[in-house]
Subunit: 357 residues, 4 copies
Amino acid sequence: MKRIGMLTSGGDCQALNAAMRGVGKCLFNSGERVEIYGFLEGYKGLIYGNFRMLASTDFSGILTKGGTILGSSRTPFKQIKEPDENGIDKVDAMKQNYHKLRLDCLVILGGNGTHKTANLLREEGLNVVTLPKTIDNDLWGTDMTFGFQSAVNIATEAIDCIHTTAASHGRVFIVEVMGHKVGFLTLNSGIAGGADIILIPEIPYDIDKIIHKIEERSKNGRRFTILAVAEGAISKEDSKLSKKEYKEKLKNYKFPSVSYEIAQQIREKTGRDVRVTVPGHTQRGGSPCPYDRVFASRLGSEAGKMVLDGEYGCMVGYKNREIVKVPLEEVAGKLKMVSPDSGVVREAKMLGISFGD
Amino acid sequence: MKRIGMLTSGGDCQALNAAMRGVGKCLFNSGERVEIYGFLEGYKGLIYGNFRMLASTDFSGILTKGGTILGSSRTPFKQIKEPDENGIDKVDAMKQNYHKLRLDCLVILGGNGTHKTANLLREEGLNVVTLPKTIDNDLWGTDMTFGFQSAVNIATEAIDCIHTTAASHGRVFIVEVMGHKVGFLTLNSGIAGGADIILIPEIPYDIDKIIHKIEERSKNGRRFTILAVAEGAISKEDSKLSKKEYKEKLKNYKFPSVSYEIAQQIREKTGRDVRVTVPGHTQRGGSPCPYDRVFASRLGSEAGKMVLDGEYGCMVGYKNREIVKVPLEEVAGKLKMVSPDSGVVREAKMLGISFGD
Amino acid sequence: MKRIGMLTSGGDCQALNAAMRGVGKCLFNSGERVEIYGFLEGYKGLIYGNFRMLASTDFSGILTKGGTILGSSRTPFKQIKEPDENGIDKVDAMKQNYHKLRLDCLVILGGNGTHKTANLLREEGLNVVTLPKTIDNDLWGTDMTFGFQSAVNIATEAIDCIHTTAASHGRVFIVEVMGHKVGFLTLNSGIAGGADIILIPEIPYDIDKIIHKIEERSKNGRRFTILAVAEGAISKEDSKLSKKEYKEKLKNYKFPSVSYEIAQQIREKTGRDVRVTVPGHTQRGGSPCPYDRVFASRLGSEAGKMVLDGEYGCMVGYKNREIVKVPLEEVAGKLKMVSPDSGVVREAKMLGISFGD
Amino acid sequence: MKRIGMLTSGGDCQALNAAMRGVGKCLFNSGERVEIYGFLEGYKGLIYGNFRMLASTDFSGILTKGGTILGSSRTPFKQIKEPDENGIDKVDAMKQNYHKLRLDCLVILGGNGTHKTANLLREEGLNVVTLPKTIDNDLWGTDMTFGFQSAVNIATEAIDCIHTTAASHGRVFIVEVMGHKVGFLTLNSGIAGGADIILIPEIPYDIDKIIHKIEERSKNGRRFTILAVAEGAISKEDSKLSKKEYKEKLKNYKFPSVSYEIAQQIREKTGRDVRVTVPGHTQRGGSPCPYDRVFASRLGSEAGKMVLDGEYGCMVGYKNREIVKVPLEEVAGKLKMVSPDSGVVREAKMLGISFGD
């Protein structure tokens, strides 16, 4: 008999349910007796003992369903070690609930913040298996995260739609894609959507290079230009600021986001009609794409097996098309980023895409 | 032999190409000799004699293509009677180009502004046939305009995506839908997306009614609330201002749009996490949906027939599922709006949707 | 207090759940006390007293869900007046269950067969309100049925996909669209998909006219031809047979369907590579499109109101963009068909589409 | 100055245009003078000297376009070494046209058959660079082929649609997925669509195991079962036949395909209502998905670079997320298949999916 706790934490994304279904199906099909406790709204549920039992039927019909049947929250990530407003020690509370329910293991689905906390719980002696969830694909130790490909699809659809309207009106259009620190999502949806300029946090831009690309296109008879810009795109000057200085600068920012500043600069320097579109949270929502469904199902299934085998302390990752186990201490606190020298960036440049560098 | 000028004017939308294809196929299939002059970038092309001949093959393969192969612009709408920066009289220029090319007729695709100008050209003695294009469905004299249903689909998809993320995080989410003066698009995508609150220009809202609805849902165990808000949503107080006063108010507005103001008010009054998503120009873009393709093809085909029959001075409209001819003087300058007493609003209210009134 | 029975009968389609949600939301929001008994698998559930109580929450989250939460069946339609294998009189059994549960009314969602039975129950003294469900849009008394537009979308997508492969290989491609007796679905998806030839039951075809169209396209440099063919397409000769003779002929048919026969004839007469694709039951499935969601919600909401008002014996229909009540005796036993002289057929022909007539 | 011939051969698929665009953009952006000769309808165009020059603009706007702008054919694959009906030696003709146009290299996009011919041309002394195109993902030497993920999406959508209708009616449904020799497409769309049983050529099935799975689901209260069946699915008995014996058997086959035979067996052994749906050629068509657009663009771009660098005789493949060069002699004549012991099959089984083995 296995008693498993399960929770989804951090910003939600597609295929969370598909992954949990994978775990659940694997466990319930194994022949072993299992009890699954679903903690509600991420670590919050574990801290405050808020859970519901998940039966085999709870995992039916959720493969294609967006969001998470358990709810999620960003609590407590940064304040993990501070007591809550009632003075409760969060880590202690989580440990107590874990032991009170006599759990054999926690299955935790989340991104970077989630993995830090998961690793902390591991260090505190809890058994943990994690699954790599994020539309940013920025988790260390795995080639891919679920949610990413679905988000690429939504961002690409937005660029596709903008393409026809930009072409009709001869405009410069900026599509702001999610990603504060890492540019995989912008890079992939930018290439897929046929963007002419792609700006990502890993490759600081020079506004004059951007202007030059727009003017060059114009000279070649192209009436419009599409920019795919990550939320965290940064200019060369700003990239030289210290983290603290840059935060300070953003505080007094007059634009809703950097895309609007870039738009303003292009407007001023070229006199062109520039528009900004922000698909925003739609990128996290909706039904997972088939790629993510397969991928999350595979990961979930192997996570179930690890639970059955008593192999704890690992994230279920993906390397060279096979599922692998990655020790949590290797994952936590690291960020996987786009390398400016990587094949895909070089190939994008050969296609004529400018990174503004 | 018929010589036809064709142009697309105003904000672009889906199925413009499908409609032009309908006109072109009808004309080229008619057996009569035809020459079609496509003016580029709306009335601008007609003013400055910027056109290209359209052959039969130009209308092939464009049924599913978004945007407009002729380009569009909002010129000259408001300044129609003012000379341009070189002192050229725009109306005169259009008439001269029409006569110079010995055109029998202009086929003009556009929305409200476009129809005003089209009617002016008719009054000036030009032969005109128009087609009702707009994602707003706000043209007088027709039950439907092409572009509308495609835009409903895109706005609905956005709400669908937001639904899963709102549910996962227990948030209040505002999806801002296009429509400054008219709420058909918001109303339909709101119902289709299962929005809980729909705010449209025709039904001024009371922020307390909105708060009440959110709190009521919360009491009934619903963790989230979705608002579909038209760009032109207006509060009861603001609706009492004169047009001039309201314009003045918007000038000094600290929010990017009214959705952000509503979000701020909900935040302040409920303490909840409120997010805004603005699909923006994506609503005008992409491939037309099958409904719009059929509808635009039918309209285009009948417009072609009107040209062949020498029936001018009309918009090709849609009434009770049949294509009809609507005299341009009846269309120009009027706006079709959502009636607060209409069946669809009453039905939405019976479903439990609040309009904040 | 109102006690309502609800059931979905006949071939399933999109937006059945959306329509039931409309009824349920209207009733539960009305303030009146209501009990809703959901009979399982269509009339079968009513005959054998197989039902489950539907709570307010059962109608949550099903707006976008395909299929029917109650299940459906084609029972008993044709054998309605024959006793079942255990000698039970079906009509009697339905009446008994209705009275045993002290129902005020039945809300029945279905197509033609379903409406015949619904009308029979009305004649037997039961209170009935019906909703027009069918992908065929062939119900008398309403301009539109829900499911239709979603099915048009799926059939059109199939034609879109076939378009690119047909063009690449220079093939003749037949897409077989659902519809044994009525051609609305084929007509609309054919126009939307840019089919060159559309064959529907209402317009018998002459194979030589089809061949001629294919050869004519070839002469004009078009390497491929797409046919959208209804399941019930019929040749001119066969249309002269009596119903009985035609049934007899089909019994000994060597082809899976008429599309394959047409393919074979084209192959033999032109030597071309001809392929057949049958999207089949996919046309009934999947999430309803926004149009159907709005439409079914509106119908459901008005059906709920009729139940509250005690207005029985009607189908909730759609005329001139408003919801109307249509007496069941006017609906039952009639079929709405494509008129060969209708505007849409004339317009399709002006576009150059051949109907093989 | 580089003179390049380009052709697409074999069954068409998504992203062929995206890949050619990648090659073209890379070449035209390189600064070097290039001439690109596009041969029409595959090797046929090369044999008979049927080509058109491709300008830079020919590669614009085709990223999202399905099919191939060059057309394709399956000629001459098997009869490559036989003279054509006019006695022309095909290989000789291709060599002559290659030399007559003074080509530096051929860029060939295709699948298995295409690669055999490409390798033959290489052996004959021509410079060749190839790109791996096939919805089957069965090319040796590359982890992925373009077209595959788009086809997975279409097949999965079909299963999704069938899911709702199967559930509504309590039916057994077979979705026949493309793939005569290799099961990757069925395996992935089956997992993504939540199929209960997946039958692929690599894992021969036992009909009794299938029946058992259906009955077991029924006992567990599931009213329906979905099978994803590859075109080339084969029973254990048939898999013991020699290739010749099996071909002979298929010749006298009374079913359109093996799916129909399996359906008949299930019907006979269980008395259930079993339906078959065949999405067929739709799986090759339509716009490529974002994954394929990125992937094909990357491959195309690297192929362009290989041409510029004079590196010939290779297929541009994909290994461990990087683009690699694979010698053509290693690729030609081999088939990549699903290993019954692979991770994904094991994981699918842990999810409870039966392979009928």
